[in-house]
Amino acid sequence: MPELQTIVRKPGSNSDPLWYKDAILYEVSVKAFQDSNNDGVGDFPGLMQRLDYLQDLGVTCLWLLPFFPSPLRDDGYDISDYMSVHPSYGTLEDFQRFLEAAHDRGLQVMIELVINHSSDQHPWFQRARHAPAGSPERNFYVWSDTDQKYKDARIIFTDTEKSNWTWDPVAQAYYWHRFFSHQPDLNYDNPEVLEEVLSVMRYWLDMGVDALRIDAIPYLVERDGTNCENLPETHEIIKKIRAAIDEGYAGRMVLAEANQWPTDVRPYFGNGDECHMAFHFPLMPRLYMGLRQEDRLPITDIMAQTPAIPDNCQWGLFLRNHDELTLEMVSDDERDYMYLAYSADPRMRINIGIRRRLAPLLDNNRRRIELLSSILFSFPGTPILYYGDELGMGDNIYLGDRNGVRTPMQWTPDRNAGFSRCNPAKLYSPVIMDPVWGYEAINVEAQQNDPSSLLNWMRNMIALRKLFQVFGRGTLRFLDSSNRKVLAYVRQYQEQTVLCVANLSRFAQPVQLDLSELDGMTPVEMLGYVEFPLITKQPYALTLGPYGFLWLELQPAMNTVEMTASASGEESFYVESENDWQAVLSADGAMKLEALLPAYLQRQRWFGSKSRSILHAKVDDCLLFDENRSALVWVTVEYDTGEPELWLLCLAMSFGADADALRESAPQQVLAVVGSAAISGVLHDGMLRAGAPAALLEVLARGEELHTRHAVLRGLPGAALPGLRGAQPLTTRPAGAEQSNSSAIFGDRLIMKLFRRQQPGANPDVEIGRFLTETAKFANIPPFAGSIEYRRNGHEPATLALLQGLVANEGDGWQWTLEELDRFYESASFSRSVPSALAAAPADTIPAQAREYAGMFLEAAATLGRRTAEMHLALASGRNADFAPQIPRPQDLESLRAGLSAHAARAFDALKSSLSRLPDDAVEQAALTLSRRGALLGKFAALTQLGEVGQWTRIHGDYHLGQVLRSRGDFVILDFEGEPARSLEERRAKHSPLKDVAGMLRSFSYGAFAALTHYIARRPAELGQLEPWARLWESAVSAEFLRAWRETAGQSPIVPAAREHFDALLEIYMLDKALYELLYELNNRPAWIRIPLHGILSLRLHPGKN
């Protein structure tokens, strides 16, 4: 035994204590890898020669099979000296040189700690058999006078051993062995044994060995009446071994070989205080089974049985190793299947398993090898490659024991496969020579020169895996899909998320995955960095080729990344004074500003193009105002697809306490830090600074003209402005509710809306506001007080700001309605009667129950109906081309029909593909809706046959309860801007006023069910009782609104003259609106899908009939 004091304790070679989680292990037999001295046996100098190959392959840790002195009756697992090197493999110095060379290349080294048993040639055993019974020397092993002890322990090597006891004629006693009879088990009930084992372990760790594989770990301790596996006493021993490592060494690892079920292996991790790693034995045969059966179930099933392990622990995963493909951890049926599927020749079987390498098991099919390897590399654990499998090496089933998978490594097509230059007869094992698997066909040299070889594929996959810690450290979540031939799972670790999809079938397979939780992420195929379509709430469809697999890195939208970074406020401008705009808007500053803008825009509520990918933003024009304290900045935003847009920014700089307050109250509106050694402040949204909107008010009121580099800004005061403004100075404050625009309030008299999206052409909000106030004298809107236009050379003017009178109110119609409905449901819940259906009542008759419980709202609905009709009549009173009513031509109706039909088809398709993920209570309604698809689409077809549909006029265009204010028992109608996502031309187009009417009716429906959802959240049991009341409310309120509208509109030509035409057109618009809502809810709130479904199903299906 070498002198221990001659060994200098070396540190571990990897400073990361969890290095094994990111490792790629490579199992190598010194004997089989490279022979340097031509004796026919591989050795450490030979292994050193091949380290460059291993480094190039990308593996990070070498697992060396036993290299200790041994009679070699079990391939070295029968050790006769734990502290030396078998002379055939070199010397201890050779090992140390190898270890240093491996560490120099960043490779860790794991060796075997075979401590369950020794060789019967070990001096300990020879000493024991000659020592008197009961002596400490004898007690190094497990002895008995009878072979009947521990009868419940199974025999593992069934092909060769009949008993776990063997009679020793010298000792005149039986000795215990769980494996071969020449491998007596050490006796851990003797404390001296553990001391000796710890000495051995320290000896190698001191030398710098990084990891130890503890062989046959479940069998260390024996107890009568048990199966002698996984005993608590065994765990006590392991804990002591681990404690000794933790006490003296950093960055080392212990791997348990426990061929057990996952739940039985779990205790070997302890509480993170036993083994760092353990093999996952049962997964391996199930990977082969899943592949052969083209069914993911065997794999997902065993993973479901795999318990969680402590954070500092890791599974060791493998496809093949130096032993047989063990079938101990499968059921009898599964074992029979595996034998039939993978060992046609009985010679392929040994013990309880199949002695074959990876490639022969898979019929040398490259795609199958790649598929299983891709699963190996992407499952949670550390992958372990068996030497030669990276080439697809074959085996030799005509060799005994498991030697058929332990043949020399095939390096070249030269003699002895480049493994040795000795006489071939001298080789420890013949090289593989047959035409398919022989070294002339399969060898490293050939594959290195073949860019498409399996070796190069493996190298690339290993390099790719190493780039992503998620594979070694992340969580695993399987994704369900109806196609069981496809295995799909998501791995997640910190900011890394990877979706893996594998086709276990030999034919192409489609799959639809529910990735709704990953909505908004972009999958990027990891091998080729290919971007896939964005994930939405819709099922994600993929098609995989035979045995195909995909690794998709899920990346957040680019803008999100930028937003996070720039929200930190790190970006700053060096300004030398409080209005040093030069530093911000000069060429250099503007460039920096432009770089900041994409993230800033994404943070703003008013920025309506958040779903588009910004390529870059360019400062187009600017104007200093507000005594140079604020700036208007026009920015052209370009996107990856589609047309660029012009957006308006109002910027200001604030310093000192003002800046601190803004940082606190409005961090999202802070664009950057500004300052110098003398001053410190922020650049922010100027609408938060009172001076900026006040200065714009002055520009408007005075009708000023200001010149920018490219345009003229002009104030256009409205006729009502002097009266609305009054004579007193007004204080300025930002309006709270910012949506697609930004607003500021002046005193309690005026409100200014700054239009962020700048589009040339008349803004409908300004145009209609001015018309209704100044021409039609319609009183139920905020009075128009003026606007500011921005006129570029050669372009139509764009509206920069709109000024209106401020209307005192009790909140918007939506909020007011919800509050009223809450009271309605409260009352209804105490009612014992069931409301009668409105449909059963005579037309236009409101049931008494509705009058009793919702009387106040019915009056309000009538008022709203009246005001709505008055608005439509006012809009129809215009005589100039922009407002004059027109009778739609047949082609107008045809165009409308085509648009509505196309929109409807999209909604139905989306509903169909989402059916499987809808809430249970909505599936039936959805199916019913889909079953009526033809009839519903038929409604649109009827549009062109209606003939007379009334005159078309300018309308509100985006009419719902949120667009009206409740004011002194009346309603004021707001916001004539139309749907902001549409073009100005579309928003200014004329339509039937029934489109607005339909919008409001749908809004009532939403109100009824939104309030019900809110109400029953506290009292879920009342849903069944209250749902009829919701319908009653909706029906009654809609009827009252409609009655008042019709009554007010009277015989106006904007109303279709025939009642059936009126009803049909209204239903068409209501259907369109409900389908719009359906699409919206599918994409955003599937739980609300019942509201539009109910709306659609409530429509009558016979066009033209009343």
Binding site: L467, G528, A565, M591
Partner: protein, 419 residues
């Protein structure tokens, strides 16, 4: 001391000084008397906000004439001179030597627990009050871990930087740094320690020894806040008499090595972030003499004839075809598209990683291609103002970002069978 082995005498001097607020260190040998006088003048101009800070002004000095640390004459007690014995291995040609000296200064600063360290080029071009104020401001007031310069270079200056280092660095690490390899920069105390430690890491992996502070700041956790300052400083051409191939081999080779070492990081970086900039850009630098691009084009054409076989090992067929088309153009029409040049550099970075051929040979084969790009660029910007030329470089850098997926796909799956 972290990372660098100083002489016993230097260590003792550092012990005597104890600590400092700001270490201003010169990365290269200077004449002791001249530098003292100059420093005394400059520190006197720093202004009142700096008077309460303890400065150490350090420079490497040969052992023979290295006097002990001393207080500056007629200066506030806050300024200490520290000529230190240059570490034995802080030598090397051109940038290798500069980087070694920069590390020595950073290591000294770490040892003195300085809050900030300002590293200056040995030509002392940046030893003026304003650059020191700006660099110190960004570290101390704006909490930057690293502050890099934006030099007011003429449009034909620093083209290795503009044509390779800056756009590659930006595309890889996602920070818009104009000069990722600079003579002058500043670092916070924590960053000094980090950069000093980095030295041993690079050497362990056979690194070239060049110091890439931006890479260290962006790839290590936690990430460091980086700033930039405009410095109206002009360093003379820094080739040190070496030919272009040697300079390219040293600098670009080192950058490629960093690229390989940091692959796990930069592959997850998308787009780029601006970094804060302080100070105003100075007036446009002088236009400089017109550059004759014909010799560059001749080198490119010669390369296309002699290095065709090497290029074929590195570049895909489409690129080779584009290059072949370029060789047929008249000099006045010669224009190398940004996408082509970015792709070439990406392919060379990959070949460097894969060791497709000897690395020295590989980088040598890049030289004529680089000259082709330089000729193309000079012809294009000759009619542009300085500002427009800078904007042109911004557009150029964006192309590198847009083409980064090409590098990623090739890096991850380095199949030669590609378009």
């Amino acid at each position: 001391m972290a990372g660098i082995e100083f002489s016993e005498e230097t260590r003792q001097q550092a012990e005597r000084i104890g600590s400092a607020d700001i270490v201003v260190g010169v990365a290269g040998p200077v004449a002791a008397d001249a530098v003292r006088t100059r420093a005394e003048t400059v520190f006197g101009l720093l202004g009142p906000s700096f008077t309460s800070l303890r400065f150490v002004f350090a420079w490497p000095s040969s052992a023979a004439d290295a006097p002990a640390a001393s207080l500056a004459a007629d200066q506030p007690a806050a300024l200490t001179f520290f000529p230190f014995a240059s570490p034995a291995h802080a030598e090397g040609e051109l940038w290798a030597g500069v980087s070694a000296q920069q590390r020595a200064v950073l290591s000294l600063a770490a040892h003195l627990n300085a809050r900030a360290c300002i590293v200056l080029g040995a030509d002392l071009a940046a030893l003026h009050a304003h650059p020191l104020q700006l660099l110190a401001y960004a570290v101390l007031e704006r909490q930057c871990g690293l502050v890099m310069p934006i030099y007011n270079a003429a449009k034909y200056d620093g083209l290795i930087n503009s044509g390779i280092l800056a756009p590659l660095n930006r595309a890889l690490y996602g920070r818009r740094i104009r000069y990722p390899l600079a003579f002058d920069f500043a670092a916070s105390g924590a960053m000094c320690a980090r950069l000093a430690r980095l030295e041993s890491h690079q050497n362990n992996h056979g690194g070239s020894g060049l110091l890439w502070p931006v890479t260290a700041a962006t790839t290590q956790s936690p990430q460091t806040t980086i700033g930039q300052v405009h410095l109206d400083v002009h360093h003379p051409t820094a080739s040190g008499g070496l030919d272009l191939s040697a300079v390219l081999a040293q600098i670009v080779g080192s950058l490629f090595q960093e690229t390989e070492a940091c692959a796990a990081h930069w592959q997850r970086v998308r787009g780029s972030q601006p970094v804060p900039v302080w100070g105003a850009a100075a007036a446009e630098p002088p236009e400089g003499q017109p550059v004759d691009t014909r010799p560059m084009l001749d080198s490119f054409l010669l390369g296309s004839r002699n290095l065709d076989e090497v290029w074929r090992l590195v570049l895909p067929p489409n690129t080779l075809l584009d290059l072949r088309r370029l060789t047929k153009l008249a000099p006045e029409d010669f224009r190398m598209p940004d996408e082509l040049w970015a792709g070439i550099v990406y392919d060379f970075a990959l070949a460097y990683r894969l060791r497709t051929l000897g690395r020295a040979h590989l980088l040598g084969a890049l030289t004529p291609l680089y000259l082709g790009w330089v000729a193309s660029y000079i012809r294009e910007v000759s009619v542009l103002s300085h500002t427009d030329a800078e904007q042109r470089l911004e557009q150029f850098a964006r192309v590198w970002e847009e083409k980064k997926p090409y590098l990623l796909s090739r890096w991850r799956w380095p199949d030669r069978f590609n378009p």
